[in-house]
Symmetry: C2
C-alpha cells in the first residue's frame, strides 16, 4: 500500500492506490507529487504527429502498446508555428479518450497570434486534455523567430496567458535548459544566470513542473537542478532523455540543439558508428546509466523520454531500470480505465465490449454515468468517425493493403465450415485477430480455458468473448488480479458465441438441469431476448473485495446493454468482415447468411465456487441434433 | 426460487425472491398474490390496543417476537366508535416503522362523522401505513348503531370513501361473514343472499381481499368461499381463526358473535372445561385441524389469526402446520429490513447499530437514502420520544419495576472489575441484556466466537458488538445465511468494545504487524478518530453474491457514521445505565468515570479468508501494560 498520508483527499476516490496511472488525478504535477511521496520513480513518453495516415495508425498502436507499461503521462508535440495543430489536437484527444493515459499537449506561441493560441487551448479543453506544455517554440524551418503583433515573446507570456484565461483548469509544464537555451545563452546573448531568472519567471507565472531539453551530460543536468533549487524553484524537474537510435540522427540532433556531449560518449560512438545495431544497444546502455545516476541522485522523481515515435529503445531502458512491475498485477480494474474527466470515477462496464473498449468508450461518451445512459438504436457500430476508429486500430484495417492482408488471412469462405475454421485458428493462436476484436492480443486469462474454447469453436460455437471463473484469487495475481494489494478478486465464468438455432435450442434444454447457468440469446432481428433468467436484472461477473473498501464490481452482464451490443456484434459480420471481400463474392454470401441466421448467445455460470461452464456443452454437443449441424 | 413468471415488475427490486415478508410490495393483496403464485401458504396476526402502558410495552415485545416468524402482515383493531383511535394509530405506526412488518390498520365508520374517518386515514398515511381494514364496526358497548349525520351506513360506503379520496394509495380489506352478519342475517333481517350481495358491493367498491369473521365450522367456511366465487367475487379470502384459549372466553366470544359451533367441538370442550391447560391444548389441536382442512381445500392461500394479543396458541398452530421455515435461512438481508415506503429498497446500514436497530431507524428516518443523509450532533440517543422508545423495548426498562429489576441484575458497581463482571456474565449468557442492546437476544452467529469474547471481556475489553468472519457460506445457511437461494455470503470479522487507553495504545502497536486489521478508536470527547486506516473510506463487512445479481453489501463500517454512533454509545453509560442507580451512588460514579475515560474501539479484520481477529489481542493482553490494568 502506498504511503498515502497527507494526501487523503486525493486518495478517497476508487482504487487510486492500485492505479499506476493515477487516473483520479487529472494534473500531471499532482501525479508526480503522489509518486514522489510513494518513492516510486516513473517515466513518460513524448510523441510527434506523423506525416502520413499510415504513420498515424502505426503511432496509435505503438502508443497503445507502450501505454500498457503505464507511463505516468505522454505528450504530443505541436508543429513549429502551429503547422500540425489539427493533427496534434486529434492525436492528443484520441489518446486521452481511448487509451487511458493522460496526455500533455504541447503548445508553442512562436509566430502565432493570441487568437490561435486560444483556439489551441479551447480545442484541448474540448477534448478533455488537462495538461499543456507551454513553449515559446522554434520558428518554422528556414524562418526567423518573430513576435506576432498581438502575440507572445517568451514562454512566460504563454504561461501567464493560460493562467489568466483558464485559471487552474490546465496543469502547465515548461521547458528547462540545463545547458542554456540554444537560441540564447550558448551564442553569448544570455548568461546562465539570465536563463535561470527566465525559468524562475516561468515558474512564478504558474508552471507546475519542468521538463528539460535533451542532454547527455548528467553532471550538467544535476548541476542545473541544484541551481534551480538554489534559485527557489521548487517544482519537480524531469530530465529529457533521448536514447541514441543511430549515428547520423544523433549527430544531427545534438548539432541542431547544440547539445554538449561528453568526450567519452563521443569516443565510444565514433568507434561503432557504422554498426547500427551496436549504436542502438549503446544508446540503451547509455540511457540506462544516465537514468540510474539521475534517479539515484534523488533530484528527479522520474524520467521523460523523447521517443521520436520509436518504441524499442525507450521500452528497453525502462525495462532494464525495472520501472515496470512484473511480478504482480498493476491493473487498477479488470479493464483499462479512461482518463477523460467524466470517466475518472467510472467503475462498471458491461462485459460485452471487453474486446472493443474503444467502441464502448465512443458509444457511451455522452453518458453521464453508466448505467444511467440509454442505448440508442444501434444497428451498426455507432462509432462516430469510422476513419478515426480504424486509425486507432478499432476495425483493424485502415488501408487497402491492411484490408487485403486481412482478407488473405481469413481466406475464401465457401461454407460454414470455413468460418468455423477461422474461429478455430484464432482460438489456437494461429490467427492474429477476429473482426470482433480491436486488438491483436488475447487476454492472458483466456489461455486457462483455451482448450475448451478451441473445442467449442471446432464444434460450431463461434466464441467472441469469455472469461474463466475465479474464486478468491489474490488481487496481486499477475493473470487475473487487479485493484489494491491485499484484496481478493472473483469472476463468474462467461462465454459468448454465435451458434446455429439447433445448438441454442439444445442449450436451453440442457441448461434446465443446471440451475446455476443463465443464458441470453437473440438473432439479429429479435427485439426480445430468449432467456432462462427468472429476473432480468444486472449480474456482476467480476468483483473484488479489498481492505477498507466497499465491494467493487467492475464488470456486469445486463440484458439492456446486451441488446445494444447484439446490434453491434451482428453488424460486424457485414460491415467489418464481409466488407473485406468483393461484392457478390461467395465469401460475402456466406457471411451474410450467417449474419441472418445465427444466434448470439451469452452464458454466465453463477457458481463461481465449483461450477464448470463447459459441462453443459458436452450434453449439447452429444445430442443427435448436433451431428446434423455440418450436414 | 419462487416462480416469479408473470410478476417480473414486482420482483425486479432487490431480494424480493428471498424476502418472506415481501417488503417490496406495500399492498397486502399483492403479497397474497405473490405467495399464491409461489404456492406457499402464509399467516397473519391481529392485535388490539391494550389498556395500560405496561400492556402496550408487552405487546410491542410480543409482536416483535411473533414477527420473527414472518407473518405476511399484522393488523391492529380500531376501538368501537374510534375509542382507541390514537393508540391504534401509534401502535400501527410504530410496528410499521420499527418492526419490519406491514401493518393493516382497522378503521370503522360506526358512530363517526366522515371528518373523523378522514383524520384516521390521514394519520395512517402520515405513518406510512398502506393497508386498511374497512369495517362498519360495532357500536360502543351499550349503544345502538346509528348513522351519523354526514357519516356512513355500510362498510361499502367506507370503501368507496377511501377509494374516492386516496385512489390506489391504500390496500383495502373488508370483512366476510360465513355465517352471515350477526347483526343482520341471523336475526332474520337479512338473507344469506342479501349478505352475499352486500359483500359483492364492497368488493365492487374497491376491496382487495376479504378476512372472515371467526368461525369453528370449516364446512360452513368452505361453502361461503365457494358461494363468493359463484357470485363473481374473485379476490382472496382469508379465514379468521380464533384459537380457543379457555372455556369462559370461548363461550363469551361465540355467544357475542352468535358463532355456530359444531356439536362435536362443544361436546369435546365441555368434558375438559375445568382444565385450562387441556382447553388450551385442545384449542391448538382444533386450530391445526381447521387450518389443515382449509389450506388443503386450495380455497384460501393463508390463515388469519385473531391472537387476542396472545402468543402461544397461534405460534403453536403455525409451528405444527410447518409454516415457519426451519431448515434454512429466511432472512432477505442480514438485518431486518423496514417496511415504510422510503426504506423498502434500503440495502445498506452501518454495523454499529446492529443491536439497536430501532434507534437507527429513528435517527435516519428523515434521510432520503443512506449514506446520503448527514448525521447531526447526537450527544445523546436522539430517539424522538424516549417514552415510545422504551415502550418499544428500546431502553429495555419502561417502568419503575423494570428499572429496579435491571439495577438488581447489574448489581452495585464499586469499581471497574464489577463492570467487567457484568459484561462477562452477559457474554456467558448469565445476564439477559446489556444497556447497549434493544433486545434480549444474542445473535446466534456470535455463539461461534463466544469463548474468545468471554476472554476479551474478562480482560477488560468490554465488547458490545461483533461478528465472526464468514468465507462463502451458502446463502441458505441457518446461522449466517441471508438472501436468495443459490448464493454465497461473506463477512469480515468485527469486534467493537470499550477499553482503557493503555489497551488501545497496545492494540495500535500490535496491529502494526498485522496489515489486515483496521482500527478506529475514540474517547467521548475526541472529535477526531484514532485510526491506522490509510484511507478513511467505507468498508463492506457483510456481502453476498447471488445468481443473476449485482453484489449486495448490506453492512458497512464507515468513519462518518462511527462518529455519530460513538456519541450514542457513550451516552448509554450515563443516560441508560447510570440512570438506573440513585443519584450520588457509587455505581453512578463508577459508570461516569468509565464514560469519561474509556475508548470506544472497532476492529475489522479484512482477511475474511484466513484471518484470526483475536490473534492481535493475545499480543495486547500478554504485554506488561495489561498486567497493571486492574491494579
Amino acid at each position: 500500500m502506498p504511503a498515502s498520508n497527507g494526501m487523503e483527499g486525493a486518495t478517497s476516490t476508487c482504487f487510486s492506490d492500485a492505479d499506476p496511472n493515477l487516473r483520479h488525478l487529472p494534473k500531471i504535477a499532482d501525479k508526480i507529487q503522489y509518486r514522489q511521496l510513494e518513492g516510486r520513480p516513473f517515466f513518460s513518453f513524448e510523441y510527434f504527429p506523423p506525416k502520413t495516415e499510415q504513420g498515424v495508425s502505426n503511432l496509435y498502436q505503438r502508443v497503445e502498446r507502450m501505454t500498457a507499461a503505464e507511463p505516468l503521462f505522454c505528450d504530443v508535440t505541436w508543429g513549429a508555428g502551429g503547422s500540425t495543430s489539427d493533427l496534434t489536437l486529434s492525436l492528443s484527444g484520441n489518446i486521452q479518450k481511448y487509451l487511458g493515459v493522460d496526455v500533455m499537449m504541447h503548445l508553442t506561441c512562436t509566430n502565432m497570434p493570441s487568437g490561435n493560441v486560444l483556439e489551441g487551448l479551447e480545442g484541448a479543453k474540448a477534448l478533455g486534455i488537462r495538461n499543456i506544455l507551454a513553449l515559446r517554440g522554434d520558428p518554422p524551418a528556414g524562418k526567423e523567430w518573430t513576435k506576432c503583433e498581438d502575440g507572445f515573446e517568451h514562454g512566460t507570456d504563454l504561461v501567464r496567458f493560460i493562467r489568466a484565461n483558464y485559471g487552474d483548469y490546465f496543469g502547465i509544464c515548461v521547458a528547462g535548459y540545463p545547458e542554456g537555451h540554444p537560441a540564447g545563452f550558448l551564442d553569448g546573448k544570455m548568461s546562465f544566470e539570465d536563463e535561470m531568472k527566465h525559468l524562475k519567471d516561468k515558474v512564478d507565472a504558474g508552471a507546475d513542473f519542468i521538463i528539460t531539453q535533451m542532454f547527455y551530460d548528467v553532471d550538467c543536468y544535476l548541476k542545473f537542478v541544484r541551481s534551480c533549487r538554489e534559485q527557489g524553484i521548487t517544482i519537480p524537474i524531469l530530465p529529457g532523455i533521448l536514447p541514441i537510435q543511430n549515428y547520423m540522427g544523433f549527430k544531427r540532433m545534438t548539432g541542431f540543439c547544440k547539445t554538449k556531449v561528453p568526450q567519452a560518449i563521443l569516443d565510444a560512438i565514433e568507434q561503432i558508428k557504422d554498426n547500427d545495431v551496436a549504436v542502438k544497444q549503446f544508446g540503451v546502455r547509455l540511457g540506462v546509466d544516465m537514468c540510474r545516476r539521475i534517479l539515484k541522485s534523488g533530484l528527479s522523481p522520474g524520467i521523460h523520454f523523447y521517443t521520436l515515435n520509436l518504441e524499442k529503445s525507450a521500452m528497453a531502458i525502462i525495462d532494464q531500470l525495472d520501472l515496470i512491475p512484473q511480478t504482480e498485477s498493476i491493473r487498477s480494474l479488470p479493464w483499462r480505465p479512461a482518463t477523460v474527466d467524466k470517466r475518472r470515477n467510472e467503475n462498471v462496464r458491461p462485459i460485452f465490449w471487453a474486446n472493443r473498449p474503444k467502441s464502448y468508450l465512443d458509444r457511451t461518451s455522452t453518458w453521464d454515468e453508466y448505467p444511467n445512459g440509454r442505448w440508442g438504436d444501434n444497428r451498426s457500430p455507432a462509432y462516430g468517425d469510422l476513419r478515426e476508429y480504424h486509425l486507432l486500430g478499432g476495425g483493424g484495417w485502415c488501408s487497402a493493403a491492411h484490408r487485403k492482408d486481412a482478407a488473405a488471412r481469413y481466406g475464401e469462405l465457401n461454407d460454414f465450415e470455413d468460418v468455423v475454421d477461422v474461429f478455430t485458428r484464432f482460438q489456437k493462436g494461429e490467427l492474429k485477430r477476429l473482426p470482433w476484436s480491436e486488438t491483436e492480443e488475447l487476454a492472458s486469462e483466456t489461455l486457462v480455458i483455451s482448450a475448451p474454447l478451441v473445442w467449442l469453436n471446432k464444434n460450431g460455437l463461434l466464441t467472441i468473448n469469455s472469461q474463466p471463473r475465479v474464486n478468491a484469487a489474490p488481487s496481486s495475481d499477475v493473470t487475473v488480479g487487479w485493484g489494491s494489494p491485499g484484496g481478493y478478486v472473483y469472476q463468474k465464468a462467461y462465454v459468448e458465441f454465435f451458434a446455429k438455432p439447433q445448438i441454442v435450442d439444445a442449450l436451453f434444454e440442457a441448461a434446465k438441469d443446471i440451475p446455476s447457468l443463465t443464458i441470453y440469446a437473440a438473432k439479429v432481428k429479435n427485439d426480445e431476448l430468449r432467456t432462462n433468467a427468472k429476473t432480468k436484472t444486472t449480474c456482476a461477473v467480476t468483483w473484488g473485495v479489498f481492505p477498507d473498501r466497499e465491494i467493487v464490481q467492475p464488470t456486469v452482464v445486463d440484458p439492456q446493454s446486451f441488446k445494444a451490443w447484439k446490434s453491434e456484434a451482428f453488424a460486424v459480420w457485414e460491415n467489418v468482415w464481409a466488407d473485406l471481400y468483393p461484392k457478390d463474392s461467395p465469401s460475402r454470401k456466406v457471411l451474410k447468411e450467417l449474419h441472418d441466421t445465427l444466434y448470439l448467445v451469452n452464458v454466465v455460470d453463477n457458481d463461481y465456487v465449483g461450477g464448470d461452464i463447459f459441462a453443459v456443452f458436452k450434453t449439447v454437443l452429444a445430442s443427435p441434433t448436433h451431428a446434423s449441424l455440418f450436414a
